[in-house]
């Protein structure tokens, strides 16, 4: 029995490795990826709450600001009333996890390399884009992830408002982006 069992174990391991490595060779169908994430999001909804990103990013902003200016930050009502800064806010770790998971995926699939925008205009657009995203998330109190993967599926009224806003914004943004591309 023992030699057979040993052989089975030996033949099993390479197959498993092949299967895992195969995962990092092919591009995954986004429908499968998102369906799996949705199921996990339901589990997280049951124990803590639905997937969001903006909240964690805001807390990180607060932590960075506190690191730079210390307790002076609390003189701003936003950071004392809305978002008191503390490091054990779970949403921070979703974002850090995404960074880690993507890094692992990119390294194992040999897709990790430094990509640098070439033109000054790209840097400028990204800067404006980042500022608008950050300002917009806090003005709305929610981000795009909480809109599509939290509020909308909970049928929160805010989800419909947010979705209308993001669609209108994406449409206006696309029009401007198209004009800029044509002008180049």
């Amino acid at each position: 029995m023992l030699p057979q069992a040993k052989r089975a174990a030996v033949s099993f391991v390479p197959q498993q490795r092949g299967g895992v490595m195969e995962f990092f060779k092919k591009t995954l169908d986004p429908i499968i990826a998102l369906a799996a994430i949705a199921v996990l999001d339901i589990f997280m909804f049951l124990i803590m709450g639905a997937w969001t990103v903006g909240g964690g990013e805001t807390m990180m902003t607060g932590l960075i600001a506190k690191g730079m200016i210390g307790d002076e930050l609390e003189r701003l009502p936003f950071w004392s009333i809305v978002f008191p800064v503390h490091g054990d806010y779970w949403k921070i770790y979703i974002s850090l996890g995404m960074l880690f998971g993507a890094f692992v995926g990119a390294v194992l699939s040999k897709e990790f390399y430094l990509r640098v925008p070439r033109h000054l205009s790209e840097w400028l657009l990204i800067t404006i884009g980042g500022l608008l995203m950050g300002f917009g998330i806090r003005l709305a109190y929610i981000c795009n992830v909480s809109t599509f993967f939290g509020l909308m599926p909970e049928m929160n009224m805010g989800g419909y408002l947010a979705m209308s806003g993001i669609l209108a914004g994406a449409w206006v943004g696309s029009l401007i982006y198209k004009k800029l591309l044509e002008a180049e």
């Binding site: 909970e154 914004g169 401007i176």
Partner: protein, 222 residues
């Protein structure tokens, strides 16, 4: 009740799996909206709709049983305005909140730059809010309409269920059917695009064959 450390661990685990799957599938929320608007391609849009259908059934199903932790805060015109700005921003930056993290993990310095300025944008908002105190902080929200503050109160599948005396899942199923209708509409559009593409290919091949035949005939005459 979980300890904060356990919550952080679960969140990190979820984020890691989500980040890995996003990286391997090249899913991007920005692309889901931008590509549908600009290029009429729906690879990411379909995935987003499938996730929303699963989540709607899951969330409203558990909400019917009184389980889960729905987001609780009032919404108002700031919700629309904020996401409007966000929508423009994500197209400019070429990444949303998810893809800034995922692309940064892949070594994209542009995405890291977008992330840094998202933080800067958030801090700028905190300054503006601290000076104006608008819109109201979540602590001052009442769940009711607050016209002077442009707030519309709070409602979700659970409150709708309580108001109409039916389980939240009923509303969830209605929403799922609507989302499925959109998904089917996209599939139909893709089939039409494919048929159109094939028609052009056939037309192109026919013209090429005709040209070749004409050239051959001209050669023979010569």
């Amino acid at each position: 009740m979980m300890t904060p450390v356990a919550e952080c661990f679960v969140a990190f685990l979820f984020g890691s799996v989500a980040g890995l799957l996003m990286q391997r599938s090249r899913f991007c929320n920005t692309a889901a909206l931008r590509d549908a608007i600009m290029f009429k391609t729906y690879r990411n849009t379909k995935a987003m709709l499938v996730a929303m259908m699963i989540l709607t059934i899951g969330f409203t199903g558990f909400m019917s049983l009184g389980a889960g932790h729905p987001l609780q805060f009032d919404v108002g015109l700031n919700t629309f305005a904020g996401l409007f700005l966000f929508g423009i921003g994500m197209v400019f930056a070429g990444a949303c909140t998810v893809s800034t993290w995922v692309k940064t993990g892949e070594g994209n310095l542009g995405a890291l730059w977008a992330l840094i300025f998202t933080f800067v944008g958030m801090f700028l908002f905190s300054l503006v809010w601290s000076a104006s105190w608008w819109p109201p902080a979540p602590q001052t929200m009442t769940g009711q309409i607050n016209a002077p503050a442009l707030q519309l109160g709070f409602a979700n599948a659970q409150t709708l269920g309580e108001k109409f005396g039916v389980p939240a899942i009923v509303f969830g199923l209605v929403q799922t059917v609507v989302l499925f209708g959109l998904y089917r509409g996209i599939l139909k559009r893709e089939r039409a695009q494919h048929a159109e593409h094939e028609k052009h290919e056939r037309e192109h091949a026919r013209k090429k064959a005709e040209k070749a035949a004409k050239a051959a005939a001209a050669n023979q005459t010569a």
